[in-house]
């Protein structure tokens, strides 16, 4: 099959052309029609077991499941005829026959497909008089807890484990109204992608212990962002309540992560408000964060004026956004600091893993190595970092500014030594580090959930990060601070928007190829000219 063939059919009386072999449900959804479903998931092989998607196929003896019925020439479909609606409401009645209806204490409530579908397609009252089947509530592994009574046996989680993760821990045991999901004794859920089963469970049968009773989902604020835990840059939604990250869930992006994220990316956020988070400002005895831009501009300027531009060195990091790197570069350019004095650090490599369904965890545990290479140059991590460290041991280098925002990875001892012995040492610090001397100036670094900006993943895809929480205690974000320093240095009139900053940067940095903020959108833009 080289050429894509199409077929003609009618849906609710309207003529429709669709690719041959496409499933009816996709054709309906693409046209904005509400065909409800449970077991169907666009990222999984269809199984057609729940029957929620029944539609009327004219001349067919009975309603057909839209998720496993391919479109054919001349087909006539009615999605909202009386027989179609009756079939679906009957299916829902069966589904609720053994359901506990414990929405008030269920974490899924508010984002539950059973609630939504019942509301839109079900009956308003139950006719059940029989005793309901009871099923176990238990831990399945990796912090995923099963509420068996709520399971509707859609097998989404089973298919995820066998086809996407490739480990096949979950299974349906028993049959009929006694069937329920379980893991074989001694083989608990333990694949590194296991949290996705909680995302895709259409009901509250699988709940993550990490999020258990943490928040009612309708009170949460939801922010589209990008995972920072490796250079895949999986698209995520950060959910917060009262300025606190409550959970991270996958966001669909065909070019990066499909519908999935790994457990590491999902559950690594506690450090944002953790006990080790560095929040202290120490730039001058008396001043607070508000004075930081002016003070910093003055200090850097006088250092350079007194000892020459070569006396200042900077170590950036592969966690910083493109914009922050660009602003940092602008400040240093303003001060004429030579390029050799600008280096960067990155987290050590982890293990690369690729799964049956194609999902990949990268060995590079940095979100923006490519951005540093694009903006500061590829040698920033290697020869320039070594050179700067060497220089710091001599008398020439008087001022040293370090960005220590790599989660879980403190600065190497030799950099701390260099920092402590500098005339003016300043560190943007994410996590407390007792080795840092009293003389060193401190400014809190922003954590991943507090940032706006863009990062570039290992495939050269530029994607937008958005702040989901505010830095505690009204502290200044590094990018805002740098903008203000530029104003103090007379290089800018005032702060400009994220959008403006992006467009300005992309026009100047060759590797960004003049990309526009508006083109990057929710799912990013490939800079390598890859598939779109």
């Amino acid at each position: 099959m080289t050429e894509k063939q199409t077929v003609n059919l009618t849906i609710n009386g309207e003529e429709v052309e669709a690719p041959a072999g496409e499933m009816l449900i996709k054709v309906c959804h693409d046209r904005g029609l509400d065909v409800p479903f449970f077991c169907y998931h666009p990222g999984l092989v269809p199984e057609g077991n729940c029957r929620m998607c029944l539609v009327e196929v004219v001349k067919a003896p009975k309603p057909m499941p839209a998720c496993t019925t391919p479109v054919t020439e001349g087909m006539e479909i009615e999605t909202h005829s009386e027989p179609a609606k009756a079939a679906r409401s009957d299916v829902l009645e069966f589904m609720l026959a053994n359901h506990p209806l414990d929405c008030p204490i269920c974490d899924k409530s508010g984002e539950c497909m059973l609630q939504d579908n019942s509301y839109a397609h079900g009956n308003d009252a139950s006719r059940m008089v029989d005793v309901k089947q009871l099923k176990p509530t238990k831990e399945l592994g990796n912090g995923v807890r099963l509420w068996g009574n709520r399971c509707i046996s859609c097998t989404r989680c089973v298919r995820f484990c066998s086809d996407i993760a490739g480990s096949g821990e979950l299974t349906m045991v028993n049959r009929g109204d006694r069937s329920v999901v379980d893991a074989f004794p001694g083989y608990p859920l333990q694949n590194p992608l296991s949290g996705n089963v909680v995302d895709i469970c259409p009901v509250g049968a699988l709940i993550s212990e990490d999020f258990l009773y943490q928040a009612r989902v309708w009170y949460e604020k939801k922010t589209d962002s990008v995972c920072h835990e490796c250079s895949r840059g999986c698209n995520v939604e950060i959910q917060t309540l009262h300025n606190e990250v409550k959970r991270i869930v996958a966001r669909h992006n065909d070019s990066v992560n499909d519908y999935w994220i790994c457990d590491h990316g999902r559950y690594t956020y506690d450090y944002v408000l953790g006990p080790e988070r560095a929040l202290e400002y120490r730039l001058d005895d008396s001043s607070g964060p508000a004075d930081a831009p002016a003070l910093l501009a003055r200090k850097l300027k006088s250092l350079v004026d007194e000892h020459g531009a070569d006396s200042l060195g900077v170590l950036a990091s592969a966690f910083m956004s493109n914009e922050t790197l660009y602003l940092l570069g602008s400040v240093l350019k303003e001060l004429d600091v030579p390029v050799e004095n600008i280096a960067a650090c990155a987290r050590a490599d982890g293990k690369e893993e690729t799964f049956k369904g194609g999902f990949k965890i990268s060995a590079d545990r940095n979100p923006n190595r490519r951005g540093v290479e694009a903006i500061l140059g590829p040698s920033a991590f290697s020869s320039r970092a070594e050179g700067l460290l060497e220089k710091s041991k001599g008398p020439g280098l008087r001022g040293l500014v370090l960005v220590s925002d790599l989660p879980g990875q403190p600065l190497p001892a030799e950099w701390i030594e260099a920092l402590n012995s500098a005339d003016f040492g300043l560190v943007f610090l994410l996590e407390n580090d007792s080795r840092i001397g009293e003389e060193v100036s401190l400014i809190p670094a922003t954590a991943f959930s507090e940032r706006d900006g863009s990062i570039i993943n290992e495939d050269g895809r530029i994607q937008l990060v958005q702040a989901a929480t505010q830095l505690p205690r009204g502290a200044l974000r590094l990018d805002d601070l740098l903008q203000d320093v530029l104003v103090e240095l007379g290089a800018r009139e005032g702060r400009i928007s994220q959008r403006g900053l992006f467009d300005e940067m992309a026009a100047i940095i060759p590797a960004l190829k003049g990309a526009r903020h508006a083109e990057v959108g929710k799912t990013g833009l490939s800079l390598d000219g890859g598939e779109e």
């Binding site: 299974t171 349906m172 045991v173 049959r175 001694g186």
Partner: protein
């Protein structure tokens, strides 16, 4: 999975030969699951978790998958089942011919409910899906043997004989 429990059982030489022969008849290993489960049941007397792991290893499947298939079917003899496995067919033709009464009579006489085993380990009572003998409904299968066209009187006699 490195920390998975070790497989403790082994099929006999003859069993392995049978599996080899079987695999030649199927498009892939997974397709041979039901007869290999039956083989495990024959060789070990019932199917326990160790057998599930052995079958999974033999056919390169996850134990979860094998377990799911095993528990879907009601007809395999499971660990802890009594000396006599009484399987009461409960599908439509048997239901129309009074299998509910049969089941209730057995529950009453044995003092257990369907799915349970008597304390002396003699009887396990199971309500199962179609036994394929609809023309002689109602049917109770005792181990390998079918007892057909049963009524309560014959059922009582059957129990007496089994009790010895």
């Amino acid at each position: 999975m490195s920390d998975a429990p070790a497989v403790k059982k082994k099929f006999s030489e003859k069993g392995l030969e049978f599996i080899d022969w079987l695999l030649g008849r199927y498009p892939n290993k997974q397709a041979a699951l039901l007869p290999v489960l039956r083989l495990a049941e024959e060789e070990f007397g019932n199917i326990d978790n160790d057998s599930v792991m052995l079958v999974a290893e033999t056919l390169e499947l996850s134990p979860g998958y094998v377990w799911g298939v095993l528990t879907f079917y009601t007809h395999y003899r499971r660990e802890g089942d009594g000396k006599y496995l009484l399987q009461v067919c409960s599908t439509l033709p048997c239901a129309l011919r009074g299998c509910r009464d049969i089941q209730h009579r057995l529950e009453e006489k044995l003092g257990i409910e369907a799915g349970e085993t008597t304390e002396d380990g003699l009887f396990t009572l199971k309500k199962v899906e179609c036994l394929g003998s609809c023309d002689t409904a109602p049917v109770v299968q005792v181990n390998e043997k079918y007892h057909e066209n049963l009524d309560i009187e014959e059922l009582d006699k059957l129990l007496e004989t089994l009790r010895g």
